[in-house]
Symmetry: C2
Subunit: 211 residues, 2 copies
């Protein structure tokens, strides 16, 4: 099973390394990073390149696609959107984490269907035709979208359950000791204090009115 | 605040990218990857290089150190151990994720103190003089060790709480939408079915009797 993890300038590292870690050790999975050009692609902090081993042109029929998001708001790269539109026809699963769903929406993959994204980018996703759904992982047909950044871990475990069954997914969860115990309970806007929500929203900025 | 994230051959990606994502966007944090040599360092899957921007010799007084683990059992690299022994004298925080604590132990930093590691590597840690403690995040003085792979996210949020206060830690948790909802509850050996525990233990292998 070929799994293409998409990279583009200013992607968010954990969006894609969470799924990478869940998927890469599963027997039979062939996980690779793909981008417009092969070579290092710099993340949104400017500090951590990941390295694409293949170009979009070289990966024409992946079984699974995972698209990460970025913390800054952005217009999706046309090269990635075109590639997604093409490969989605033959994928078994097309997935995204955080604002990676903005790419799927721009490719028409989310037209009128339920999907999620980072909580602060809801309006952007809706503007592109998806029905924003306030869930951590949203599965509709062969499309799975996940909420912000760290939710890619939960999404990828769901994906392993679908592709390899619950025993394999449970084994991966145990191998990465995913027994979360965050020191606070502020991981969603419905749980965090209002001033923290506003602080994060202000820091993340927005070019999209209302998002 | 200079934060040195250690890389070495066959490290596990999520061990270090979890803390990276939590720490890198905090104002005033200068996060960098450091290794024996600058340049790409390949992870345990062979698929995902991260890139060290500095060598150990170039980073002589980091405020914070984070050491990731590896899923295979290993003897810690001497160059990293020597460097840790040196820089630990002046760090504000010395931390590890997963079997990164094996490096700290080899450097004498965990002699006789409570610490944790990946659940399947407990014996290796104890053999090197630490007191294994079955907790996700163990803080003793300026040393914080975390359990397997994904626990680095919880550890790093704890660290941000200590360095920048609870509001910043809560804001980071919300920014990365860390509101975990794993599809299963098998993230620790005390929760997973016995056959899953044995399956993972067998897959991870061991060169250390009893671990």
């Amino acid at each position: 099973m070929q799994i293409a993890l998409v990279l583009y300038p200013k992607f968010t590292v954990l969006d894609i390394t969470g799924p990478f870690q869940v998927l890469a050790d599963v027997p039979g999975n062939d996980v690779l990073f793909v981008a417009a050009e092969a070579g290092p692609v710099i993340d949104h902090t400017g500090r951590s390149p990941l390295v694409a081993s293949k170009t979009f042109g070289e990966v024409t029929a992946p079984d699974v696609v995972v698209v990460p998001g970025a913390l800054e708001d952005f217009e999706p790269y046309e090269s990635a959107v075109r590639w997604l539109r093409d490969v989605h026809r033959t994928t078994t699963w097309t997935t995204s984490v955080c604002t990676g769903s903005i790419f799927l929406a721009a490719a028409g993959i989310l037209d009128g269907i339920d999907a999620t994204t980072h909580w602060a980018r809801r309006a952007h996703l809706e503007r592109l035709g998806a029905r924003y759904t306030e869930q951590r992982v949203v599965e509709r047909g062969k499309v799975i979208t996940a909420a912000g950044v760290s939710s890619g871990i939960d999404m990828a475990l769901t994906l392993v359950d679908r592709t390899h069954g619950p025993e394999m997914a449970q084994a991966v969860q145990l191998a990465i000791e995913y027994d979360p115990q965050p020191p606070f309970d502020t991981g969603s806007p419905s749980k965090a204090p209002a001033d923290i929500v506003e602080m994060v929203r202000a820091t993340m900025g927005s070019t999209v009115p209302g998002s």
